[in-house]
């Protein structure tokens, strides 16, 4: 049996999915590198190909653009970026992310694709770009028509009407929840995520204030907000699994967790280093002493610490604002008027 590879593959940490076209069936291959698993979908049994457009291209574009900007920040801030190794590294990293952004733009719109068979709907994870799906359909349709015959629009409409009439228990408008791609998506409000990103913005603002003002109250507030933020981020991460939230929001939440943890790790390493190297080990005798000492510490006297705090502030602002914008766009009601829908439907039927 000779197989023709369909462009497109979905790669994970240890799995790769590809699609191959045979004489009388489609072969979906899932490979771990050391084993391969095969699924055959025969052309004579195929009922429909279902394509759903996704926002993955937009989300990836936003992600790459954000990281390119963040990586270029040291070079943008530095007066002579070519003299600083950090700025140079940032420029190179930014160039890499810009390349990824261009590749993402070139590859075109994203979608998911699945094939409906008589008893099951099979997802095709390797087909994630519209271009690849169009090519796939151009190769598939002649093969299916050869075995099943052609179907005109009128015949399709008549057949659907006949099926709808013969199955009155399921009306066309009845909602049957349960996504076909993977497990049933959980529909829940995104309040936790909204709160988490709101607290992220608040924490960023308090961190920025802490650079310029040192007092116990501000430090206490910053600590409390940080603890609440961490709890909200972890709760959001646990709840967003298999949810209907946009992928961008989920990614930004994880980015927020990584940034928050990284910042706190680096911050506290610096604090300990400052006190230990400054022979101020008495601050570690109890929590309150340490807390008071941190509150009295002026970050401006330690330029590296200031840069770390500024970096966290900027990054947290970007992540928080982007995520809240993504949430707002997801919740924005679709303003499709009845006339517009009728017009689009008419165009589709022609």
């Amino acid at each position: 049996m000779r197989y023709t590879r369909i462009p497109g593959k979905k790669g994970g940490l240890y799995r790769r999915c590809t699609l191959w076209m045979g004489d009388d069936h489609l072969l979906a291959v899932e490979s771990t590198g050391y084993t391969e698993q095969y699924r055959r979908l025969y052309y004579k049994d195929m009922q429909a190909v279902i394509i759903r457009e996704t926002s993955r291209k937009r989300d990836l574009g936003l992600l790459f653009a954000s990281f390119a900007f963040l990586a270029a920040l040291p070079a943008l801030i530095h007066l002579d970026p070519l003299e600083s190794p950090l700025s140079l590294a940032g420029i190179l990293t930014s160039a890499a992310f810009l390349s990824l952004l261009l590749v993402n733009l070139y590859k075109g719109p994203t979608c998911t694709c699945s094939i409906q068979m008589p008893v099951a709907v099979h997802g095709l994870p390797s087909l994630r770009r519209r271009k690849n799906v169009e090519l796939f359909l151009s190769l598939l349709k002649p093969r299916v028509e050869k075995l099943q015959g052609k179907l005109s629009r009128d015949e399709l409409r008549a057949g659907l009407y006949r099926l709808t009439v013969s199955s009155p228990q399921v009306s066309p408008m009845s909602p049957i929840f349960g996504g076909l791609e993977g497990s049933q998506p959980r529909v829940f409000s995104s309040r936790i995520h909204g709160l988490a990103f709101g607290f992220l913005l608040l924490d960023a603002a308090l961190t920025w204030l802490s650079i310029h003002h040192n007092n116990l109250l501000l430090t206490m507030l910053n600590t409390l907000v940080g603890m609440a933020l961490f709890a909200l981020l972890i709760t959001g991460a646990a709840r967003q699994k298999r949810s209907s939230l946009p992928a961008a929001v989920k990614t930004l939440l994880w980015s927020g967790i990584m940034v928050f943890l990284s910042y706190n790790l680096i911050y506290w390493v610096f604090i300990y280093a400052i006190f230990i190297l400054g022979n101020q080990v008495e601050v570690f005798r109890d929590q309150w002493s340490l807390f008071s000492a941190v509150a009295e510490l002026n970050p401006v006297d330690h330029p590296t610490l200031t840069k770390v705090m500024m970096g966290y502030t900027i990054t947290a602002f970007i992540i928080g604002l982007s995520a809240l914008l993504a949430l707002a766009m997801d919740r924005w009601p679709r303003k499709t008027s009845g006339a517009e829908l009728t017009m689009r439907t008419s165009e589709g039927l022609q």
């Binding site: 191959w20 072969l27 394509i51 052609k150 929840f177």
Partner: protein
Amino acid sequence: MIRPVRSGVIVACPQCGATLPNDVITATVPLPCRHCSAEVQVEAFPALVKRWTPSGQPGEPLTNDSQASCFYHPDKLAVVPCSNCGRFLCSLCDIELASERLCPACVEQGRQRGRLDRLVTQRTLHDQVALSLAFIPLLFFWITLVTAPTAIYLAVRNWNSPSSILPRTKVRFVLAILIGALQILGWTAFLAHSLT
């Protein structure tokens, strides 16, 4: 990745599972699902509306003693011999696989021994295993004393074993043998030098 088709549902939205209305199924451009607003496009084939159920043939009974009977059902008329073992089969036992007509026993045997590519659902890529065993331990060097001969053994042992059903060359086996041989040569030279 695989979801069952619910009874009475013609085509369901891939995001929310709601039944798609007929105007979305027949449209040539993506239209929004009425429940989740996901932009969906359906490319329908005749099998969607011409829902025929393939009728299984029960096998015709023998009408006289001169007719050949099925090996598995002596009271049924044989219609075709098995392409593999030659046994006579009735229409109930006849299994069409690609261009061959096989009996149930040959199908099961072919599946178990991996001889019927059509029924293979999983294969181990022995060439990749051998190559990884030859290459990856180089990071830890000392382990290559054991892994190099093992990689060569695996490559030779599985040279003719069924591999991927997709087009694949033996280059990984060759590389595994070469890298393993070089490692063994290296160890030999090292040990000879140490002894002298």
